[in-house]
C-alpha cells in the first residue's frame, strides 16, 4: 500500500468512525457516573454491542479498501495535531477485543448484574464503568497515531485495570492491586522518559513522521530501551511478571478474564507499534535475539511454575506468563536477514494471531475456572473430581481453550504457532522452534493435570453450592469455540494484518 504512506496524512472517508470508537466508551463511563450505578449495566449492554458493530465496520472497511483509515483530529495536521490511524493490526485487534469484552459482559451479568428494584451496590457500579474504560483505552491504544497518545492510553488502561483486581476488597487482592499499580507506574514513567527524549531529538512523536526521521544515536537508543523496559513491565514479560499471577488469580472471574485476555495485549501492542512502525531498522539481530530469549525464558518459567500450582486460577495465571512469551518470539522471526529490519511477514501475522487466540482462549478458561470456583467453593486442582459430570459444558470450554493454547488444529493457536514455526525454519533459527515445541508439551502437561482431575469420579457425592446459570457456561463455551475456529481465518481475512504496513517508506527511513 505505498500511496497510503507517501501521501501526507488526510482524513479518509469513514475516518470519523475512529473517533466514535474512542468517544463511545468515554461517553458510557460519563453517563454511568451521571445516571448512577443502577444504569451502568444497561448503558454497557447498549454500548458494548455497538462497539463490536463499529469494530467490524472498521475491519471491513480496512480489509476491502486495503488502506488505513485516518482521522486528523480538529484538522490540525501532525506534528502539531494528533492523527488517529487504523491499519490492519488495529482493526483485527479491535474486533478481537470487542468479542472478548462482549462475552465477558454477558458472563458478568450473573455476578455484577443489577436487578430491578435492588439498591445501588459499589462493585457492580465499578465493574461496568471499568469495563467500558478498558474498552475505550484499548481502542485508543490501537488507533493512537503518536507516542504520547499511546502513553495516555496505557495510563488509562492501568487506571481501569488496577481497581478490577481488588473489586472484592480482600487484603490479599489489595496487595496484588498495589503491586500491580507500582509495576505499572514504573513502566509508564519509563515510557514517558523515552517520549521526552524522542521529542527532544526529533521534534515529533507522530509515528509516521518519527519513522522517517529516526536514526541510530545515543538518545534514541536510551529512549527506545527505557520505553521497551517500561512496556515489558506492563506486559508482564519475564522477569517483570511478578505482579501478574496474584493480581490475575485474585480478581473475580469476569475481571480476571478481562485482565488476562485484554489488558496485557494493550501494552504488547504498543511494543509492536514502537519496533515495527517507529523504528523497524533499530532493533537489529542482537536486540531481536534478546527479545526472543526473554520470551523463551517466559515460556519455560511460566510453564514449569504452572505445572507446580495447586490452585486452578493460579495455574491459568502462570499459563498467561508463558503464553506472553510466545508473543515475543515473533521479533527475531520477523527480522529480515538481509536488511536487518523488522518486517510485516508471516511471523508478525503469527504473533498477532497468537495474541488474539490467547485472548479468546484465556478469557474462556478464566470464566470456566470462575464457574468451577462458584460451584465447588474452592479451586484446588486435586479436589476437582466429579466436576466434569456437574458442569460438562464448562469443562468442555476449558478443554477447548487448552486445545488452542497447546496449538492443536484447527485452533487459532495452531495457525499462530505454525506460522511462527514456519518462519523459524525459513530463517534457519531452529532454537526458537525447539522452545515452541517444548512450550506445547508443557502446556499439554498442565492441561492434562487439570482435565484428568476434573473427569475423575469423586469419592463422595459432590456438594454443589450454587447452580450456575446456563448463559454463563455458554459465554465461556462461545469464546472457546471462537478460539478453536480461529484457525479458519487462514482461508480469508488473515491478510488484513498486512494492511498499512509501512514497507514503502522504509527505503527512505535512514
Amino acid at each position: 500500500m505505498p500511496d497510503a504512506n507517501v501521501l501526507p496524512d488526510a482524513t479518509t472517508t469513514d475516518g470519523a468512525l475512529l473517533v466514535l470508537a474512542i468517544v463511545l466508551p468515554a461517553a458510557g463511563v460519563l453517563l454511568s457516573f451521571v445516571l448512577g450505578g443502577r444504569y451502568a449495566e444497561r448503558i454497557a449492554f447498549v454500548l458494548l454491542p455497538s462497539g463490536f458493530f463499529l469494530a467490524t465496520i472498521i475491519f471491513a472497511d480496512v480489509w476491502q479498501s486495503g488502506h488505513r483509515l485516518i482521522y486528523i483530529v480538529g484538522d490540525w495536521k501532525p506534528p502539531l495535531g494528533i492523527a488517529l490511524r487504523a491499519d490492519g493490526l488495529s482493526a483485527a485487534m479491535m474486533v478481537a477485543m470487542a468479542v472478548v469484552i462482549c462475552a465477558v459482559a454477558i458472563f458478568a451479568h450473573a455476578d455484577f448484574g443489577t436487578r430491578a428494584g435492588s439498591v445501588e451496590a459499589r462493585a457492580p457500579f465499578a465493574f461496568w464503568i471499568l469495563l467500558m474504560a478498558i474498552w475505550g483505552a484499548m481502542n485508543m491504544g490501537f488507533l493512537g497515531g503518536d507516542l504520547f497518545t499511546l502513553y495516555v492510553a496505557i495510563e488509562l488502561l492501568t487506571f481501569a485495570a488496577v481497581p478490577l483486581v481488588c473489586l472484592d476488597g480482600r487484603a490479599e487482592t489489595l496487595q496484588a492491586a498495589l503491586r500491580y499499580l507500582l509495576f505499572a507506574l514504573l513502566g509508564s514513567i519509563l515510557y514517558l522518559v523515552g517520549t521526552a527524549l524522542l521529542y527532544g531529538s526529533y521534534a515529533t512523536l507522530d509515528i509516521v513522521l518519527l519513522s522517517r526521521r529516526v536514526h541510530m544515536e545515543p538518545a534514541t537508543l536510551v529512549a527506545a530501551t527505557l520505553m521497551t523496559i517500561g512496556l515489558f513491565a506492563k506486559t508482564a514479560l519475564f522477569p517483570l511478571h511478578l505482579w501478574l499471577p496474584p493480581a490475575h488469580a485474585g480478581a473475580p472471574a469476569a475481571a480476571s478474564a478481562v485482565l488476562s485476555a485484554v489488558v496485557v495485549k494493550g501494552s504488547f501492542f504498543i511494543v509492536v507499534r514502537l519496533w515495527f512502525d517507529v523504528m523497524p531498522a533499530m532493533l537489529g539481530p542482537a536486540g531481536a535475539q534478546l527479545f526472543g530469549a526473554l520470551g523463551a525464558a517466559a515460556i519455560v518459567f511460566g510453564s514449569v511454575v504452572a505445572l507446580r500450582q495447586q490452585r486452578l486460577k493460579l495455574l491459568i495465571a502462570y499459563s498467561t506468563v508463558a503464553q506472553i512469551g510466545y508473543l515475543f518470539l515473533m521479533f527475531p522471526l520477523a527480522l529480515d536477514t538481509v536488511s536487518a529490519q523488522l518486517q510485516g511477514s508471516s511471523a508478525l501475522t503469527g504473533g498477532m494471531l497468537q495474541a488474539i487466540s490467547h485472548a479468546t482462549a484465556k478469557a474462556a478458561m478464566f470464566m470456566a475456572a470462575g464457574l468451577i470456583y462458584a460451584t465447588l467453593g474452592h479451586d484446588r486442582i486435586a479436589e476437582l473430581g466429579g466436576i466434569a459430570r456437574a458442569l460438562p459444558m464448562t469443562i468442555f470450554a476449558f478443554a477447548l481453550g487448552g486445545v488452542s493454547l497447546i496449538g492443536l488444529p484447527p485452533s487459532g493457536g495452531f495457525l499462530a504457532k505454525w506460522l511462527l514455526l514456519e518462519a523459524a525454519v525459513a530463517t534457519g533459527q531452529w532454537w526458537w522452534a525447539i522452545v515452541m515445541l517444548a512450550g506445547g508439551l508443557f502446556t499439554s502437561g498442565y492441561m492434562f493435570i487439570v482435565l484428568s482431575s476434573a473427569v475423575a469420579p469423586s469419592g463422595e457425592p459432590l456438594k454443589l453450592r450454587v447452580a450456575v446459570p446456563r448463559y454463563q457456561e455458554a459465554a465461556a463455551l462461545a469464546l472457546a469455540l471462537t478460539s478453536l475456529l480461529l484457525g479458519l481465518v487462514a482461508l480469508g481475512p488473515i491478510d488484513i494484518l498486512q494492511v498499512g504496513r509501512p514497507e514503502a517508506i522504509m527505503g527512505g527511513s535512514r
Binding site: L80, F159, P163, A196, G200, L242
Partner: protein, 113 residues
C-alpha cells in the same frame, strides 16, 4: 554550561534518585514518594526539551508543555489511587507492606518483591 543543560542534569539526577528509591524501598508509601520524585525529574526533562526547541522570540516550544501538563495530571491521579490503595490495605490488615506472608495470600512470589 547553560541553564538548559543544568536543568537537564538536575532532571536526570532526580530520575536516577527516584528510580533507585522505587526499586530498593520495600515500603509502598516510600515507593510512591520515589515515583513522584522520578516523575518530577521527567517533567523537568520535558521543560528542558521545550526550552531547547524554542523558536526565536518564544520562551519555549508549546508542545512539550502541553504534554507535561497531561503527564502531571496523570501522575497526580496515579498517586491518589496508590495512596487510596495503601490506606485501604492499612484499614484491612493494620499494616501497609507488600510482603504476602499472610496464610491466605500467594506463596509463590515470596521474597521476590
Amino acid at each position: 554550561m547553560n541553564a538548559a543543560t543544568l536543568f537537564g542534569l538536575c532532571g536526570a539526577a532526580l530520575v536516577g534518585f527516584g528510580l533507585y528509591g522505587l526499586v530498593t524501598n520495600p515500603e509502598p508509601l516510600r515507593k510512591i514518594l520515589a515515583f513522584n520524585l522520578l516523575g518530577s525529574g521527567v517533567f523537568l526533562v520535558f521543560g528542558v526539551v521545550s526550552r531547547r526547541a524554542a523558536a526565536s522570540g518564544l520562551g519555549g516550544d508549546p508542545v512539550p508543555q502541553a504534554m507535561v501538563i497531561t503527564a502531571i495530571v496523570v501522575a497526580f491521579a496515579a498517586t491518589a489511587m496508590a495512596i487510596a490503595l495503601v490506606l485501604r490495605l492499612l484499614q484491612e490488615t493494620g499494616r501497609s507492606t507488600l510482603n504476602s506472608d499472610n496464610p491466605g495470600g500467594t506463596n509463590t512470589d515470596r521474597g521476590n518483591s
